[in-house]
Symmetry: D2
Subunit: 298 residues, 4 copies
């Protein structure tokens, strides 16, 4: 049985660690907020006071942190975790961060004889709980092969996007597309309803036509249409506006750094930023309908 | 066997009329450009010198014309076709036009004891040829019931969007969504490739993740990825930039008239307008990648 | 002394009529809301029960109405005012309406031996009160020559934009530019302040640099900077968001009808539409800062 | 007479150094491309093989470099120029760089007892040659006081924007506004001309109305209107599309880092990026009309 060190026990990290326990891995956890470890410890994990302690004897280190700076702070520098790991340890960073940060981690790990993968996820808290996450992985195929047992314990689909950082790039491109589609879907429904259509009928038509998209099918923003979606529950839960905004920001940053034009992606970022400013950062991203059509969707 | 009058034999109308013949309907055709009738006549239709002649003894009249003004000019006014039709005749206008124009046709038909449906299509020339079009229908359910045999001869899916004009509104909302997704997909692929990803791998990841959408699956814009898509064939055929631009214009007009905000839809319209100005109006809409990423996709 | 019939006594029309009186013209007024006439009548105008009555013996008819449909309804059709005017009467429509509507009025007037000008204004209620409006005029130069005495009584600058409808087109293009600059100025100030700048200092720098523009100089959106601007007064008064939205809508409509790309103009329209949906339609257009930067400007 | 070390002799730096010589300063120059020094040496400067040599005995160091990385590389690090300067030396960096980079330079200079100002310029090559640049300065007022004689030799207006980095922030906010206005002006002229207006007449109207802005007045994009503007000269010279794109990129980066919404600024960046991709990066920014209205302006 392999031992996994797990750093970061937020809304995503906690259920992921629980699924590792269910699959039989020994799990050593750490989070700066020690309370977050309690339910995982009750399920069988050992709790640790710091990342270093959680990494002792670990075959694999997994991290699930909010942003680039947290990942760099955890692993890199003279006091970073990399300095303490046994050569051969496999690092799987599941955080969504800038591709450039991911490449810095890969390079530093390489230099110390460690193996690394960037493995951001898609699927949200629901997928994390159900163990049906999608992992989008960057790094060497041999390292991915080693990672498969733990990834399979937490998810359903595993994609090998390419070399170091490719997982982050693919995640960011995918989520930029999601943000664009979410706003677009809200606009299409708003336009239809304002002209007399039933939002349920319009949704059914679009999902079977060339307007079909994941946001419409899984996150229909019109309030009350589908009882199992956030829009039927005051937009609670799900993938938050603030997370969408973070990912659209990473996409814009990557576009700037690589000299690309992403006019729709950046407009989506700005619309989500306006929406967050209205105090809706914690709601599911489908709540963008409140910005687009305050009157009909309110 | 019912007799169908068919007006408008362009790239969409011609294969639709042929499918009616295959299904056993008697078809009486007219187009201002008389040459367009030749292949349909060879398949068994009768050709007529004007719309009035093509409508004599017709149980059902179908029209497939470029824009609102052509439909209004055909049917309405003191010399319009409505004046010549036998009460009870069913009019099925398959053109994509402004919802307001469609409602004018419905109202005028009503006043003369005629039945009308707006029934714009989705599926493009490929769908027209294969008889797999989607019809998005506005009007009374009883009229749609009468129309089903002819619609089934030309298409696969039939949606009843609602009352008079609802077919047009739903079509326009759907196609606005398609335009948004096409540009967004081009941006996502451009961003990924500029950062080292294989466009084929990124496409596969997105199609199985939350970036999944019809444009990516059926019209991947990256050149050469899928041999059966326009992008592998110099963007020939398919659904043209000029048609997309027309539909996005109808969406913007409808948004203006109903006081809606469609920021992404209108940006998509403007980007397709810039693309058309570069001389690409005849290409498939997936050619928008040429505007978004001239360097990598050219 | 010439007699002027004046139709439409709203926030713009009323002070314009008063300035005509001050300049010595006989003024015959009508508004559907009869109360609006009271202050003008006290200043010397005669009040009338309908437009026809207000036009009797008038050398010149002036109208200042909300939108295309009101202007068309006033003048055109079998019961329109044009049918009652003495040949040679000069019509000056100061409303801001669609260029196509303006051209319809010109054409109908021509056919009846009447003279017409489209003469929309710039300068807002402040300019209307001070008699410093700018008139942007479309129509024949000889007609404009006849109009100068009354226009000079109400304004300071008179521009001859071109033929029939050109006044409206120029007004719309100008106001689209204003809308773009207003949002842009709000964004620039928001960006500066979020990064530590004093909004007053940044405004002074921009006004003397290449960021200089009318919106910054006359409608600085930052709250409290200039005591004589709407932003120091809770955004009361001035040129309302709803009026800006109307003009940006006319610009978008004109762009659609003439096949133009106006990406910035249409984005500005959408942002003002989102802002109006938040309940701010009555505020001065500089209140758009509330949408762009809710936190810092609130 | 003070001695000034001057690093960076490109299209901006060269005429700035010449104006220092005219004003009587001793000037010690260095550029990696040694040929660029020739005309300045002929005018009386001394040429140096490296930045260190150019700084010996200098009271003031001025740098005018392309981007953040060049400035950081020049001054910072173990081998950077700061290590060689005599305490008390005043550094004036006139490059346009990220505010964060400027603050790093200020901090490092502070730590070594050096004085620093960020002083990016507005006015382009024409202003640099005429000695009429605008300096937008961040840093201590006492340091600015010391800098005034050299700044006055090169420019006309000096603004004190605030503390360290404030010059860069103000410059970036100002130039984002310029980019927005340039695209907006192109759209307004395109819309007017497509509807029958004379671009010269429309420009005159806007410049005296609420559409007035610096871009319209100094960089009218319509081809051939003003013989002294780039648009009359094939868009040669002036402020290039690539420079505009760089500044709009800095604005977007700053917006991302400070969590701001700049929808119009980011759309302008994307439109200039599309324009640059068409091969127009070297043209004056007013050439954006070629993207917006290829037909009428081509």
């Amino acid at each position: 049985m392999q031992t996994v060190g797990f750093i970061g026990l937020g809304k995503m990290g906690a259920p992921m660690a629980l699924n590792l326990l269910k699959a039989g891995f020994a799990v050593q956890v750490f989070d700066r907020l020690s309370d977050l470890a309690d339910p995982i410890v009750r399920a069988g994990a050992t709790n640790h006071n710091n990342a270093h302690s959680a990494s002792v004897n670990a075959d694999i280190m997994i991290s699930m942190l909010p942003a680039s700076e947290h990942v760099e702070s955890l692993y890199l520098g003279a006091t970073g975790l990399l300095q303490h790991l046994t050569p051969g340890t496999l690092i799987i960073d599941c955080s969504t961060i800038a591709p450039a940060s991911a490449r810095r981690l890969h390079d530093a790990a390489d230099g110390l004889g460690l193996a690394a993968l960037d493995a951001p996820v898609s699927g949200g808290t629901t997928g994390a709980q159900a163990g049906t996450l999608t992992f989008i992985v960057g790094g060497l195929a041999t390292n991915l092969q080693r990672a498969r047992p733990v990834l399979n314990a937490m998810g359903k689909n595993i994609f090998h996007a390419g070399d170091a950082g490719a997982g982050q790039t693919a995640k960011i491109a995918n989520n930029m597309m999601l943000g664009i589609m979410m706003v677009g879907t809200a606009e299409a429904l708003s336009l239809g309803v304002a002209n007399g259509l039933d939002p349920k009928v319009l949704s059914e038509i679009m999902t079977l036509s060339s307007g079909q998209n994941w946001a419409l099918d899984h996150k229909n923003p019109w309030p009350g249409l589908n009882t199992n979606m956030p829009a039927a529950n005051g937009y609670q839960g799900g993938f938050s506006v603030d997370h969408m905004l973070k990912d659209l920001g990473l996409a814009a940053l990557t576009a700037l750094q690589s000299g690309r034009a992403t006019p729709m992606g950046e407009l989506a970022r700005n619309l989500f930023a306006l929406h967050a400013q209205q105090g809706h950062g914690d709601l599911d991203l489908s709540s963008i309908i409140k910005l687009i059509d305050k009157k009909n969707s309110g």
